[in-house]
């Protein structure tokens, strides 16, 4: 058995590598022409064989999007994006009409890609502890594992495309119920052109027996990825869901604008974990993924709970605020985040905790790490509605700086309309001290390993919230992402 109590075996294994997911796969991919018009939206809907209500949903969103402007309030410098110069649909499974039926039908190149990424698509090779995977490459889900096993418990775990076909009632009831297409520019864009993401439904009283996960892979050039994920946890259910993402190294910027919606009903609990490792661009800021994502959960039921954990190391620009609307009395929201930026990366990330119900509680722990010339911002809103008697929030935002050319910023907002609420905010900014590094060096630990060790120690509170397999990956990523920050 491998002992992962020390992150440093891992740190060592990767000490020579940089972004190891930067390869491309040569697979026959059908890519629609660049550009975005109503015809594009219709074409996507047609490709996916969608019913009319789904097309209507898209078109409404598209028409609204046309009236909107890109938001500019974040502490980010976003180069102009030409939305007409992106292809909105790329299908690496296009050879088979209905998508692959069994593992044998998946293009071996696609299989190899996920193998190389460490995401086994054959159930017998599944990660220890059992993790069901929905693997999405570009715009299409290529394989979902353990579907049958899960179906035995009444759990639905499938691609969004499949859900629209096979579970239209559930999708119609919940899609857009948490993140309306009018919510923001990127939400409207996503609602118009979204492709596969995952759909999860956990029935009443069911505790999902394994971790569910979606692995998002961008492969095709000149495309964007616009996935959409919807998770519904019915009364008294539980699920832990993981999300991972990577993309090839390219000089061009690629757009990723996703929506994740989560609905948590009475006494149910959802844990949503992300390890975001999109290609961050090179050390001069060339290339990299623009990650503009709307993630929100409606914690609707009494005593329901939603916990977001994110480790953000990738992307050239990150714009992302996983949030909780705490509607049910006694409901709870949590946000645990490690956001690391290096070189020319920019991140503006945080959360919104909207307390509507009575005795709602929220916890926010944010750990920012900035290195190189990067800019790293925490932006958070704690809102307490007038009926939210006894609401409580605790927020802690820490920033760690490596070097003196990077920036760390904190933008905490509070809007409290109920006198009984208690809202606490703590913030610290620190640097890795030369004495800490030297202490490690004197004990024989070289500089890069020492930085990895200290940064992992700093982020431990958040990393501990991740499921084991992800925690290991996250530790490794933090160390790798900081290579060449010394000297």
């Amino acid at each position: 058995m491998k002992d992962y109590s020390s992150g440093n075996d891992l740190v060592r294994e990767i000490s020579a590598e940089k972004y190891k997911y930067g390869f491309t796969t040569d697979v026959h991919t059908e890519i629609i022409d660049r550009g975005l018009t109503e015809d594009t939206v219709k074409l996507i809907s047609e490709r996916k064989g969608e019913p009319d209500w789904m097309l209507d949903f898209r078109l409404k969103a598209f028409r609204h999007w046309l009236t909107m402007e890109m938001p500019d309030w974040a502490h980010l410098e976003i180069p102009e994006i030409d939305y007409q110069n992106i292809s909105y649909y790329a299908d690496p499974t296009a050879r088979k009409k209905e998508g692959p039926k069994s593992i044998d039908e998946i293009d071996p190149q696609v299989m190899k890609t996920f193998d190389k990424l460490g995401i086994p698509l054959e159930e017998r090779l599944a990660l220890s502890g059992g993790v069901a995977v929905d693997a999405v490459m570009d715009s299409v889900s290529v394989k979902t594992t353990f579907k049958q096993t899960l179906a035995g418990k009444g759990i639905i775990f499938c691609s969004m495309g499949e859900a629209v076909r096979n579970h239209p009632d559930l999708v119609r009831q919940y899609l857009g119920s948490v993140v309306n297409y009018r919510d923001n520019f990127f939400a409207a864009l996503n609602s118009a052109v979204f492709s596969d993401g995952s759909f999860v439904y956990i029935p009443k009283g069911v505790r999902c027996p394994m971790e569910l996960s979606t692995y998002f892979r961008i492969n095709a050039a000149g495309t964007g990825q616009f996935e959409r994920t919807l998770i519904v946890a019915d009364d008294d259910s539980y699920v832990s869901y993981l999300e991972g993402c990577t993309a090839p190294m390219r000089d061009e910027n690629q757009l990723h604008a996703a929506i994740v919606e989560i609905v948590v009903l009475d006494r149910a609990e959802v844990k949503y974990s992300t390890v975001q490792n999109w290609y961050p661009g090179d050390e001069n800021g060339r290339g990299g993924v623009y990650n503009f994502v709307t993630k929100r959960g409606l914690v609707k039921g009494v005593d329901a709970k939603l916990s977001w954990t994110q480790v953000e190391t990738g992307s050239a620009i990150t714009w992302k605020y996983p949030s909780c609307v705490l509607q049910g009395d006694g409901s709870q929201g949590e946000f645990y985040s490690v956001a690391l930026t290096n070189n020319r990366q920019q991140a503006d990330t945080g959360t919104k905790m909207i307390h509507l119900g009575r005795n709602t509680r929220s916890t926010v722990i944010s750990k920012g790490i900035s290195a190189g010339h990067s800019q790293n911002s925490y932006r958070g809103l704690i809102k307490v509605g007038e009926h939210a008697d006894g609401a409580r929030n605790y927020s802690q935002c820490d920033s760690l700086l490596l070097g003196d050319r990077c920036g760390a910023h904190t933008f905490p907002y509070m809007d409290v309309k109920n006198e009984t609420a208690i809202v606490e905010h703590e913030a610290t900014t620190s640097k890795i001290s030369e004495d800490q590094l030297f202490y490690c060096n004197q004990r024989g630990i070289p500089m890069e390993q020492a930085i990895g060790l200290i940064v992992n120690g700093y982020a431990k509170e958040v990393l501990n919230k991740l499921p084991m397999e992800f925690a290991v990956e996250a530790q490794r990523l933090l160390a790798v992402s900081l290579e060449n920050t010394v000297g």
Partner: protein, 256 residues
């Protein structure tokens, strides 16, 4: 006699200010040397320069450690070669458990020596053994490095790390400072039990009291960046009784 450390005409300083002004020192395997001196004499500079602290720069001289050019090595390479320093002020590293820290340190050294990493079982066995040496309880391995440790625990932890890393030459930098008599005994006892014919110790101290427990073979007096007197263990006692002034006067008379 096997030469452990040879310092020749070492000049070094910090922020452009020269503090060591020509140190000569030879330490053989199996020997314990004490370096004593009043405040500001350069004791801490000397230990920091030997272990390669980046804030200090060497301007002249040569240091040979086990036959190799010490000054050409990075701090971690010196450690891998078997040089250890017990810090006067051990630093806290939040969130990094002692287990994680120690395993990393040991396995980095093993890697440098071309050995495979220590198995978790062997590592834990070693921890148990060495922990007893300085009477640290089992829980301390789960605590973050030095975080919230008492002064005594920090120094015992330094000696524990020394035991784990099995260095050839250990520099104890003011290890007695801030220790009560019980902790001092535990620390000294640990050092004595680690001592053998192949290892050497340099004890850097202002006071004699640690030398009651760790018996030196040679005592040096450092003053204004130079070693001004070298003698046997009886010198430490004399310094305790008479202070440093007489040695300084003797030195100043001799240089005229």
């Amino acid at each position: 006699m096997i030469m452990m450390l040879k310092i020749e005409n070492l000049h070094a300083g910090i922020d452009g200010k020269e503090i060591l002004k020509g140190i000569d020192l030879e330490v053989n395997a199996g020997e314990v040397h004490a370096i004593m001196g009043p405040n500001g004499s350069g004791k801490s500079t000397m230990s920091n320069v030997l272990v390669g602290h980046p804030a200090y720069s060497v301007t002249e001289g040569k240091v040979t450690f086990k036959g190799k050019d010490l000054l050409a090595m990075s701090a971690e390479e010196r450690s891998h070669e078997g040089l250890f320093m017990s810090f006067q002020y051990p630093v806290e590293i939040p969130g990094v458990s002692m287990t994680n820290f120690m395993r990393t340190a040991i396995n980095e050294k093993r890697k440098a020596l071309g050995k495979t990493p220590l198995s978790p079982a062997d590592f834990l066995k070693m921890v148990r053994e060495k922990r007893d040496l300085v009477k640290l309880d089992a829980k301390f391995m789960n605590r973050s490095v030095n975080e919230g440790f008492s002064g005594g625990e920090k120094k015992r932890n330094e000696i524990f790390q020394m035991a784990m890393l099995e260095p050839s030459l250990s520099i104890l930098d003011e290890t007695d400072s801030g220790l009560d008599i019980d902790a001092l005994r535990i620390v000294a006892d640990g050092v004595n039990r680690l001592k053998n014919a192949d290892t050497s110790v340099i004890v850097i101290t202002h006071y004699q009291r640690l030398l009651d427990y760790i018996k030196p073979d040679v005592v040096h007096v450092l003053y204004h960046g130079r070693i001004i007197k070298t003698a046997g263990p009886e010198l430490a006692l004399e310094l305790e009784e008479r202070g440093y002034d007489w040695v300084i006067r003797e030195f100043e008379d001799s240089v005229g």
